[in-house]
Symmetry: C2
Subunit: 352 residues, 2 copies
DNA sequence: TTGTATGCGTTATCAG
DNA sequence: CTGATAACGCATACAA
């Protein structure tokens, strides 16, 4: 039997505290504290000794106790509706890595449609004294979030119209934001599609209340108008593959054919492509041209090979980390803003 | 200008503490503490009053201070190599949701190949006093992890051979584990493939050091042998789409054709499928049959429509949460184990 | 450079 | 059922 060693009751070692190390090193516990604080003054050999002993006995400063006095938890909250959607997960991945190198840990929170749950979650979050919080979910207003957090200023990703962020004017709560200019990339997409002969466009939307979605539709409408093209047909969507699939089918079976479809996100575009190819027998890009948004990893897979509008992931994460660090350095500064551009990644779903 | 309201220096409200509420309610701060602890005895109307005032002033118990005395951080660590791989992200998503309802927050850690970074990260993690930690990464040994955590017992996902977990015997550290019996599902997969005429199998591996991968290959070999089929051709892989694509191409261009490919994970299977279809002009399932592992959401998308071995996500997460709760109730109990089955999900990549 | 005293916000202990 | 007091482990001001 392989479990022999594990059958006995387990015995964990005593927790080593600063006092433990202090006694062993023959110094005060304050010296131990200083040894772990690089900018504190302490004789080098003393620090080395303390650090060595700490390693031997497995001592690590307790973040909770430290947070209690420094008022810095080294915890950054991330609120998302879905961890498992590709876009979110790529963002969380990169963000976690970046935060780790800066000495922060990522605390994950998932929103739910049930409002009461959100209420409970907010007070719960507040208890952790987050140093910062990034809201990728838009169903939680800035006031709510700012109220639920003391000493932390929330960060929102917003989508300005012609350079002006609409959300900022409507709210009295202070929050920092990452402005994503979607117009550039969408403009490039429409230009390319038109160049290859598209005349009748459709827009497969995302979740109705999503600000990203609303601004994408608005930008698309404006760009089409500027180019003398007709308004887009709107296909109802919610950022999921399944809805995209059925909604696209509905559109074409109603006889409302189009020759260019712009999807609010890549996953939706995959649904569009599969509906066109496998359910309607249409060719891409010959019969219909498709463009997505996000440039997730799967967009490069050969089955889809999707032309899409990209928000650079590294830029995005760097901007977010910059916002967090700047805010922590200056907690009372006015709202801070970082701006990001978008651009078209050309692959195989637009062409002739 | 829309930012007018946000230009002024911000002023955050004073943090409300238990004493604040106590004074307002005319009770001791202990009463406030009790009001937030459901099982503590406190006159109902007194509790209601305290809770009401707390809500008004926005008071929430400080988790750091609470953790300091209760020795429970309500933090569960999750260590993953990649948040953005679909399997991981689905797991994290479900786990976070489940933990949230149990009152725990999920702390995310990403591993890196750089060993020194991992070292730093471990001591860093220790500082947070996690109540539990789940290691989805296998490059961190149980001893290392158990050592880096006091009062928390790590949880590993392991893959027993014929019902016996190999990892348990090799380690002196105590850890709880989730045993996944992969044999059942793989057996069903091979049976189906053989029934549709497969005679020459290939195995597209995952990362070399992955225990899941090693056991999947071992199980496949044994099952093929039991059925009188030849050993599988091994295709080098690492769980990624790109490697799967190029490795599959290499195999077939070397003339080593096979008629059945079992991939260590779904994403790899997607690479196999795209290589066969778009680079080699082969039909699936007519020419080659393909089976994956995981049953991620994308496996159901029409472009792939992948037959795959599934580990039920809900079962998996429930088992993990059960392990955490049981361990917290009984910190010194011997190693605990939960077991999970796998089964085949039949879609379109196996057939005739 | 070093040590002493104090406080961070909470819960456990013990008395009433 | 309730309140005073003492921890919990650390960092900071201050004095040496």
């Amino acid at each position: 039997m392989s479990d022999g060693l594990n059958m006995k009751e387990i015995k964990r070692p005593e927790r080593a505290t600063a006092d433990t190390v202090a006694k062993m090193a023959g110094v005060s516990r304050v010296a131990v504290s200083r040894a772990f604080n690089p900018h504190a003054s302490l004789k080098k050999e003393k620090r080395d000794l303390i650090l060595k002993i700490s390693k031997d006995v497995g001592y690590t400063p307790d973040m909770a106790a430290r947070a209690l006095v420094t008022r810095r938890s080294h915890l950054v909250g991330v609120i998302v509706p879905d961890v498992c959607s590709p876009w979110e997960s790529q963002e969380i991945d990169a963000l976690t890595t970046a935060l780790q190198t800066e000495g922060f840990a990522t605390l994950l929170f998932k929103t739910r449609t049930d409002q009461s749950m959100d209420e409970r979650l907010l007070t719960y979050m507040k208890g952790f004294n987050l140093d910062s919080i990034i809201a990728f979910a838009e169903n939680i207003g800035p006031e709510t979030l700012a109220n639920a957090l003391d000493r932390a200023v929330p960060i929102y990703v917003t989508y300005p119209q012609n350079g002006v962020s609409p959300i900022a004017s409507g709210s009295t709560a202070v929050f920092d934001r990452l402005d994503v200019n979607q117009q550039t990339g969408i403009g490039q997409a429409v230009a390319l599609m038109q160049a290859y002969g598209c005349t009748k466009f459709a827009y497969l939307g995302g979740a109705k209340t999503s600000l990203a979605n609303i601004e994408r539709e608005r930008a698309l409408r404006q760009i089409l108008k500027d180019r003398g093209l007709p308004d887009p047909v709107i296909i109802a969507g919610d950022f999921t593959y399944e809805t995209a699939l059925t909604s696209t089918l509905d559109l074409f079976k109603m006889g409302e054919g189009v020759d260019g479809i712009f999807s609010a996100n890549d996953v939706g575009a995959f649904g569009v492509i599969d509906a066109l190819r496998f359910k309607l027998g249409l060719r891409i890009p010959e019969d219909v041209k498709v463009v997505g948004f996000d440039d997730i990893a799967q967009a490069g897979w050969l089955s889809y090979n999707l032309t899409t509008v990209k928000i650079d992931l590294d830029d995005r994460v760097r901007a977010l980390v910059r916002l967090i660090l700047r805010r922590l350095k200056n907690p009372t500064a006015p709202a801070m803003v970082e701006t990001l551009e978008t651009r078209l990644i050309v692959r195989g779903t637009v062409g002739s």
